[in-house]
């Protein structure tokens, strides 16, 4: 019996369309995405030029959250600016405070006691966990995996409770002071942090299990938004985005500050530089942060939580201000005139959750910075967008934006 073959022919109308495709006029579609769009995480606007579903041109429009932080800094004392740093990367205010404080301390040449350094490392790592949890949850939700968001936000809530206990605030913490931290850790707090880590690590594994081998997730992220190693460096990317492209740069290892050299941790790097690699890097960074946090608590030195030689900067304890003349005057002078800084200039970058957050402080003496430039990692990370979006589908922008994990508060300053 002869096998029956069926000949499939192209239907007439489709054949005509294919043959005459030259005759159709194609028109580029301009699409303004944002500034209030769920996948743009805040107020980023993208002016896209589309050819069908393909992005031909991408022009990010920034500045919707511009508050003039650098101008404000020129008009207030060094201590007064600490709360403003909370509002840069508002997902990791603790880490921002630390970066700013270290920059000014380098200007004033202050040695920070070991206990204070350890507290700073601990809160920076907790802030990193908190920021990555949010970044990951939002990324997954944009791509359609709602469950992950609920898991990560449950853990973040526990972290906020810990932050509240430590600093008195859940969101904008303003915990670090120049020359120390605002107060010592409450009793038993480190124990509760350890307990949190105990509960949090299985959740990371769970999220890992939900996403890493998930067919839909891999399809939506693998080979999407590929950033080559050379491009990543040339565009000044930092943080997990740079490491996702295979560059092993981490300021905690390269130029250790605040005693990071004492702790063992690994730097995860990607191979391809696509959205999937950036996701993997973040997952592993959370585990490494937990590892650092455990070591810090294990080794927590005793001593003072502020530098004794920072008396000219650090506000004296309140009970002394109310009982002792010397401290009262000190307090008054610090509040009215600000800490007296030597003139000079300092550039310091800290490895924040989003990348290297830099402060360039120019001082001409006195209590007010002459110029304070904030080098925002999100700003630099976003600058590659016009390049990486070209040729991608519109739906891929959700993956790309989610994997770049930026915060507009920091980007627009």
């Amino acid at each position: 019996m002869a096998t029956e073959t069926t000949e499939f022919s192209v239907p007439d109308s489709a054949a005509k369309a294919a043959a005459g495709s030259q005759e159709f006029e194609t028109e580029k579609l301009e699409l303004s995405m944002g500034p209030s769009h769920p996948s743009t995480h805040g107020v980023l606007r993208l002016n896209l030029e589309l050819d069908g579903e393909i992005i031909k041109k991408c022009d990010p429009v920034l500045g919707y959250l511009h508050r003039g932080d650098e101008k404000i800094a020129e008009n207030m004392t060094y201590n007064q600016f600490v709360p403003y740093t909370d509002r840069l990367d508002y997902l990791a205010p603790l880490a921002n405070n630390v970066a700013y404080a270290i920059a000014v301390e380098r200007l004033a040449d202050i040695e920070i006691p070991e206990r204070c350094q350890a507290i700073r490392v601990l809160i920076s790592e907790l802030a990193r966990i908190s920021a990555h949890l949010l970044g990951l949850g939002a990324f997954a939700m944009d791509v359609g995996a709602m469950t992950v968001f609920l898991y990560t936000f449950t853990e973040r809530e526990k972290l906020y409770t810990l932050f509240e206990e430590l600093t008195g605030a859940r969101f904008t913490t303003s915990y670090t002071r120049i020359g120390g931290v605002a107060r010592d850790m409450p009793e038993g707090w480190t124990g509760r942090v350890l307990q949190f880590i105990e509960e949090f690590l299985p959740v990371v594994d769970e999220v890992d299990g939900l996403l890493t081998r998930n067919r839909i997730w891999v399809d939506r992220t693998e080979d999407i938004g590929v950033i080559s190693r050379e491009d990543a460096i040339a565009y000044g990317l930092t943080g997990p985005n740079l490491r996702g492209s295979g560059v092993e740069m981490d300021l905690r290892k390269d130029l250790p500050y605040s005693g990071y050299e004492q702790y063992d941790f690994d730097i995860p790097v990607g191979t391809k530089g696509d959205c999937y690699d950036r996701y993997l890097v973040r997952i592993e960074e959370m585990r490494q942060s937990a590892r650092i946090a455990r070591q810090v608590i294990d080794k927590m030195p005793s001593g003072s939580f502020y530098a004794e030689d920072a008396k000219k900067i650090f506000l004296p304890p309140k009970e002394k201000v109310l009982t002792s003349m010397e401290e009262l005057i000190q307090n008054f002078m610090l509040v009215t005139e600000g800490p007296q800084m030597p003139s000079g200039e300092v550039y310091f970058e800290a490895e924040n959750p989003k990348g290297a957050l830099g402060f360039y402080v120019v001082s001409k003496g006195g209590g007010v910075p002459y110029r304070l430039k904030i080098r925002a990692p999100s700003f630099c990370n976003l600058s590659i967008l016009p390049k990486v979006c070209i040729g991608a589908m519109v739906a891929d922008t959700a993956s790309i934006l989610g994997s770049l994990d930026f915060v507009m508060g920091e980007c627009d300053r």
């Binding site: 920034l62 207030m76 040339a234 000044g236 009215t336």
Partner: protein
């Protein structure tokens, strides 16, 4: 070549136009604006400073000359070192600097921000538009003669201004956060708005 202290000394020997800039943290050089691009290119090619981390400017004061200084911070991802290069700009009225976008694409947005905030024009920049303020904004906010409370402006969208008849009002603090004046009697040292050219009590000069 990986930058070490020796190689940076050799840099200074190679380029006689470089002057050491006082610095307590990283190696720091002043260069005339004419040789700026040459210096940056050499640092990228020969000294392995592969990452441009920051471009910014300093306004040295309304009456100062040279008024504007551009400052570049470079980082070497192999040697883990920063370097600072600064150049004073020649024209105080219309400051112009060369663009570094050909060396690092990262310079694109940094230079746009510099233009936006200080009005420094980067010659040869492919797309020098405002980046944080809106297109058509007439002032340069980080210049020292720009008051903290801002200037009264037409709304960004002219159509909206036409319909509502409103203008953007300056912030009510009129001078903003508090700083005590440094040289005065103790009794007058009460914290007050730093910009005292105008506030709630005295009218803003036209």
């Amino acid at each position: 070549m990986i930058p070490t202290d020796d190689s940076l000394t050799s840099l200074k020997e190679k380029f006689s136009h470089l002057n050491e800039r006082p610095s307590s943290d990283w190696p720091s050089f002043d260069t005339p604006v004419g040789e700026l691009l040459l210096t940056l290119q050499a640092l990228e090619d020969e000294y392995d400073f592969d990452m441009l981390v920051d471009v910014t400017a300093i306004d040295n004061g309304v009456d100062a000359s040279p008024r504007f200084t551009v400052v570049y911070h470079l980082y070497s991802t192999n040697a883990h070192q920063y370097i600072r290069v600064a150049a004073d700009l020649e024209d105080d009225e219309n400051p112009v600097a060369p663009t570094a976008t050909a060396i690092w694409p990262a310079a694109d947005w940094h230079e746009r921000e510099c233009f936006d905030m200080f009005g420094i024009r980067f010659e040869g920049h492919p797309d020098l538009r405002r980046i944080l303020m809106w297109d058509g904004y007439p002032h340069f906010p980080l210049r020292k003669d720009f008051p903290l409370a801002g200037f009264e402006n037409e709304l960004a969208d002219e159509e909206v201004a036409e319909v509502t008849g409103t203008k953007v009002k300056p912030a009510p603090m009129a001078g903003g956060p508090f700083v005590a004046p440094q040289a005065d009697f103790m009794t007058k040292r009460e914290p007050r708005a730093k910009d005292e050219s105008w506030n709630e009590k005295s009218e803003k000069p036209e």
